[in-house]
Amino acid sequence: MVRVRLSALAAACTGLVGLALALIFFVAPTDADQGFSQRIFYFHVPIALTSYACFGWGAWKALRYLRTRDERADLESYVAIHQGVIFGALTLLTGSIWAKASWGVWWSWSENQLVLFLVLFLFYCAYFMLRFSVEPGPARANMSAVYALFGVVLIPVSFLAIRLSQKFIHPVVFTSHGPQMTGSQFFVFCVSFAALLTLFATLYQVELAGKRLDAHVRELRELLT
């Protein structure tokens, strides 16, 4: 595992996010169909993808925990999932704003990604309820890890289910976001995605450092009193 220095990561993050925003507002062409509001897409979709990355990383760390029983893996899993929920909430919010801008409604059940995120959001919020309900220790770490793994398996299963459900909820509505992008749009999208992944990495490391510091301070207190 490459341990990137946090300051370097934060600097890279700042640079990438700045670059992404500049590209989004000054370079990306205005979409022919959706007009100016299409630019929300450049953050909305990468945020969603980053959220999946968070949950995936959390599940990976959960698996590591179950294999090694190393407390640190449990903490890393928790922080990753915490970030995933933050990005997930942002997905729902930006998606909702985009829906309002595009179709005039704050929510659309025919938007597969939004509905999937709602389900995942519910699932992973319950993760925190689980963690708060059980005393810290190996039992809680075990259960959290199992739940995190269930979550990551639920992602494709739910996606499939939601796609099936569209047939009896709505006729499928065609939306023009997806891989049908022009070259310059795709470039901006990639930069934005890289920026948000770096943001996740930075926030993740900061939160992890904070939690580890917390644990050390607590341990120190116990040793001194």
């Binding site: 509001s37 942002l90 930006t94 301070v217 001194l224």
Partner: protein, 54 residues
């Protein structure tokens, strides 16, 4: 193809979306900063205790 309604305040939605992201990240930074402050204070107290022990 859905015809977009092109409301007059279209840019405001875009701004709102990016603003939401910005606010979330800033709020998170604020929370971490508060936690850091608390930890610094606790660490200070513990250092005092350790010094008192000698």
């Amino acid at each position: 193809m859905i015809a977009s309604s092109s409301p007059p305040s279209e840019w405001q939605y875009v701004a709102a979306a990016y603003l939401v992201v910005f606010v979330f990240v800033l709020a998170w930074v604020a929370l971490i900063a508060a936690k850091l402050g608390r930890l610094q204070k606790q660490l200070g107290e513990l250092v005092e205790k350790a010094r008192a022990r000698g």
